[in-house]
């Protein structure tokens, strides 16, 4: 198939960017979206134009490194990561716009690559259980009810790709934040630091420039791991409890 790509080009973080149009021909429907961009980059290199910068690594939907805004939708038309999107989801003649995640918490580095280190700093603020290596009791010392373990797992599958932020009109990272709060809140190991964790992580989230949640739900609509929206309810509940206890 033949497509018209409109791609955001921006030489570096401080430069202004623009959409540039690239026609591309003979796209196989078996290509992944990123392989289609690889092919474009090989052509640009041959023509003497610098290739389009974009992040990807595992290309099997788990590392969370890739993420593009495709026709205005985070990760494109299927509910999956950009690397797992295939060209059979498009049709001959389509115009496809490709942009980076846009959020004040994710500054653009170049073209389609953004800086998501804010997510690491949110985890630094408390997204862990404080246990040194060697200090653990036997793994069977504390049984965990299966339903708690399952919900913890569902939340812990977040790949930290940032699609939730990119999709949110408020630029909120509440789904990412709620996922980590829920993961640790469901487990006995996470209880000791539960209140300080939520206070510190929310504080850091706000410092990084992410917006508040107004229950729009765009985040869950694009989340490639289908993190449920009720993790944000858990986040809010824990926040209320923590504030109440602090007072």
């Amino acid at each position: 198939m033949n497509l018209t790509l409109k791609i955001w080009r921006q030489p570096n973080g401080s430069a202004t960017g623009e959409m540039v149009t690239y026609p591309i021909t003979d796209v196989s429907e078996d290509m992944s979206f990123l392989e289609m961009l690889d092919v474009l980059n090989e052509r640009l290199t041959a023509e003497g134009e610098e290739p389009v910068a974009f992040d990807s690594d595992c290309r099997e939907g788990i590392c969370g490194m890739c993420g593009l805004m495709i026709n205005g939708v985070a990760h494109g038309p299927e509910v999956t990561t950009t690397c797992q999107l295939h060209m059979r989801s498009f049709s001959d003649g389509d115009v496809v716009t490709i942009e980076p995640w846009r959020a004040s918490g994710f500054p653009v580095l170049r073209d389609l690559a953004v800086d998501r280190s804010a997510f690491d700093r949110i985890i630094d603020a408390g997204g862990y259980v404080s246990v040194n290596t060697g200090a653990a009791p036997d793994a069977h010392a504390t049984p965990v009810p299966k339903e708690n373990a399952e919900r913890a797992f569902d939340a812990a599958t977040c790949i930290s790709c940032g699609a939730c932020v990119a999709a949110c009109p408020n630029g909120s990272a509440s789904l990412f934040l709620g996922a980590k709060i829920t993961h640790l809140a469901e487990l006995p190991q996470g209880q000791a630091e539960r209140h300080t964790r939520v206070l510190n992580m929310v504080h850091q989230h706000d410092l990084e420039g992410f917006g508040g949640c107004t229950n729009i739900g765009e985040c869950t609509a694009v989340c490639p791991k289908e993190i449920p929206q009720d993790v944000i309810a858990t986040l809010n509940k824990d926040m209320r409890h923590a504030l109440w206890n602090r007072v």
Binding site: N12, L34, C58, A113, D124, V129, G134, K146, S160, L184
Partner: protein
């Protein structure tokens, strides 16, 4: 032999329906991602012969000893030995080493600095643990977050000798299975220690909040894996690697918050700094490139830990992530670190095949598919482009069932892989033409659907079928899947002693980047175990013995060795940016991958390997002369990053071929055409090759130098395997 003993997957079947396991009924992906069906025969140590193990086959040793296929390609150096493992009973060695390794006073630790390169399971866990101990740690990774390292993609599980099922497991049994699975090419002391600390890993991960699968009573669930008869594999649905890495990542970030660890995202190590302060050469730092700004930085420390993963991407197509590379390890090799057993690679039989020249990576599917799927190709090459459903039963060749009637589709992964390639090389492959042949075989569930019903197949394999459909656009319920082998893991790596110290003092190597624990083949669910064992428990205990002699004399950016290392990095970058040749970096990488796959993949021959070496040399010369890298150094330049990696792969590839050429035996996952039994099966040669091949860099124009470390088995008896 009872039918159950014959069928190494029977234990998995017996565990069905996994009803009590979290997520298992809907999640077959995790069921046995790395199910290496008969890598471990199901015997207890004393019953070998009863379960598919035969006595050693005599080898024409005298012929072999005189015959060196690789003569002229290398020179032989002095033998080496591990001097760090205490003598005495294998089960006492780790306790003794922990006791004898010097301690570092807590007040001194903050004056000692350690660089960790790579933040997968080994790197993250090492950096976190060293930070907790109070050392000053700097962690480097090329991704934008430490949590993205490729350990995250491991699916199946992690072994540990907990014996929670009271089914006869023990540290000794896990040790035994690992040595045997590695086809007697791993060091006994290291493997025993791995088994010994395995149980602590599970405790640590649970305490961190890793959501392992649990039973209804709230206790941890286990499954049997890789054909072993004990259930020792812990798992978190099909995402065990992800959950373990998040646990290690969170421990790491906690130390970042505490100020003991500083992370350096999007920083790639491009050179090792080795400085002789009068007491001999020591690893004292690294040169990195900030991948966003292009700045070349020097980072100095008292010790350097490489946890930079494996080198499967030398094949271009593999199940590794796009960025996985050998550069950190290779730059260390060029500075004096021996590279051990580089030809030991693991190839997985059930990957989704290549769909065209655009293919950028391969995706693994669980080998559990071979429990119920039947593998075949058309008998006649002219049927290969037909709709498989139109090919009548009598025109199909169920070749594994034909050649291996007792194991059938459940033969070990190396045999399944090799035979798939043989079928395609014969011209009977299926799927699209890629290059000069079709690279795929059918994995057919029609019979399983008829036998079990579609809903049962769906319950067991639904996730895998969905993944296959998403990637290929084909419905595997209606038409047979196509599979093809792919490179998955590299057992070779930098040589280390029992302390995980390389042949350069002060340079330690952990995880897949070292060679130490898996011999010539790795068992399923053991990669995660090794990464975390090294990082949480082994390295922090052994590195202190080295650090206790520090802090080492202060060096600065202006020391001649440091300046030379930086200049070397700058020179390479300047070269890549100035060649302005006619071929892209990827086109060279693809071509190298093709050479490696054809000649240094599953089946190797002396003639093929010599051809490969010539081709690689020519390609490398062309690369330096004709590569095209556009842009500048002072910005995010992904082609420039890849150019450096491919330059190193082009050197590694040659060493892999030389290693494979000199090792004239079939062992582990490797088949040497010149070393087979009369009926065409792999023939190991213990008399001539029961050693670790540790290669020393021979200089730009010199030949690599082979140092042999003899492998001595005191606790386990060496046996040949047989699957016919």
């Amino acid at each position: 032999m009872s039918p159950q003993e014959k069928d190494p997957m029977a234990t998995n079947e017996n565990e069905a329906p996994h009803g009590t396991a979290m997520g298992t009924s809907s999640d077959p992906v995790g069921q046995a991602e790395e199910l290496a069906p008969a890598e471990v025969a199901n015997e207890s140590p004393s019953q070998g012969a009863a379960a598919g193990v035969t006595a050693p086959v005599s080898t024409p040793a005298a012929d072999r000893a005189d015959h060196d296929d690789a003569a002229g390609y290398y020179t032989t150096g002095a033998p080496i030995a591990d001097t760090k493992a205490p003598a005495g009973p294998v089960e006492r060695r780790w306790t003794e080493r922990v006791f004898n390794a010097k301690l570092v006073n807590p007040a001194n630790r903050r004056r000692l600095s350690v660089i960790v390169v790579g933040t997968g399971l080994a790197g993250s866990s090492a950096a976190a643990t060293l930070g907790e101990a109070g050392y000053h740690v700097d962690a480097f990774f090329y991704q934008d977050s430490p949590r993205r390292a490729h350990s995250i993609a491991a699916q199946g599980g992690i072994n540990a000798a907990k014996n929670y099922k009271e089914d006869g497991d023990s540290i000794y049994r896990l040790f035994y299975d690992t040595v045997k699975g590695g086809d007697y090419r791993a060091r006994e002391s290291n493997v025993y220690r791995l088994a010994e600390v395995s149980a602590n890993i599970i405790d640590q991960c649970v305490a961190q909040g890793v959501p392992f699968a649990r039973e209804y009573g709230g206790l941890l669930d286990n499954r049997s894996f890789g054909g072993v008869q004990v259930s020792r594999t812990f798992y978190a649905r099909g995402q065990t690697g992800q959950q373990l890495l998040i646990g290690a990542y969170q421990a790491l970030e906690r130390q970042v918050a505490a100020g003991t660890v500083k992370t350096h995202a999007r920083h790639e190590m491009l050179e090792l700094v080795v400085v002789d302060d009068g007491s001999g050469p020591r690893a004292r730092g690294i040169v990195t490139r900030d991948m966003v700004t292009g700045e070349i930085e020097t980072h100095l420390a008292d010790a350097v830990v490489l946890a930079s993963g494996g080198y499967g991407n030398v094949f271009f197509l593999s199940t590794n992530a796009m960025g996985c590379n050998v550069t950190a390890a290779w730059r260390a090799h060029r500075k004096g670190a021996h590279f051990a057993n580089p030809c030991y690679t693991q190839i997985h039989p059930t990957c989704i095949p290549v769909s065209g020249e655009h293919q950028s990576k391969l995706t693994l599917m669980s080998e559990s598919l071979r429990n119920d799927g039947r593998i075949w190709v058309p008998k006649n090459a002219e049927d290969c482009d037909k709709d498989p459903r139109d090919i009548p039963e009598e025109d199909r060749d169920y070749y594994l069932e034909r050649i291996y009637p007792s194991f059938g589709n459940l033969v070990p992964r190396d045999i399944a892989s090799r035979q798939a390639k043989n079928m395609c090389d014969e011209g009977r492959g299926v799927g699209p033409m890629v290059g000069d042949q079709r690279r795929g075989v059918y994995l057919d569930f029609a019979e399983a659907i008829e036998r079990m019903g579609r809903s049962a197949v769906e319950a067991k394999y639904g996730n895998l079928f969905d993944m296959y459909a998403r990637i290929t656009g084909e419905d595997p319920y209606a038409t047979p899947m196509r599979i093809y082998p792919a490179v998955h893991y590299t057992m070779g790596g930098l040589w280390v002693d029992y302390d995980l110290q390389s042949s350069i003092p002060g340079l330690f190597v952990a995880g897949e980047a070292n060679f130490s624990d898996h011999g010539a083949n790795r068992l399923g669910a053991s990669a995660l175990m090794q990464g975390l064992a090294d990082g949480y428990f082994v390295l922090p205990n052994t590195i202190r013995d080295y650090l206790a002699d520090g802090p080492f004399p202060k060096i600065t950016d202006d020391d001649p060795e440091v300046r030379a290392a930086r200049a070397n990095v700058q020179e390479r970058i300047d070269h890549f940016l100035s060649v302005n040749g006619s071929r892209s970096v990827d086109s060279f990488h693809r071509e190298l991958g093709h050479i490696m796959w054809e000649y240094c993949g599953m089946e190797r021959s002396a003639e093929g390997l010599r051809t490969a070496i010539e081709k690689i040399r020519a390609l490398r010369e062309e690369f330096w002369r004709d590569v095209r890298v556009l842009g500048t150094n002072d910005s995010l330049n992904q082609a420039l990053e890849r150019a450096g990696r491919v330059a190193d792969f082009l050197e590694l590839g040659e060493l892999m071929c030389i290693d494979a050429l000199h090792r004239r035996e079939s062992c582990g996952g490797h088949f040497r055409a010149e070393s087979q039994t009369p009926d065409g099966e792999a023939l190991r040669d213990d008399e001539n090759f029961a050693y670790v091949a540790a290669w020393e860099w021979g200089g730009e124009t010199g030949e690599p130098i082979l140092h042999k470390e003899d492998l001595v088995y005191e606790s386990v008896e060496m046996k040949q395997r047989s699957y016919k």
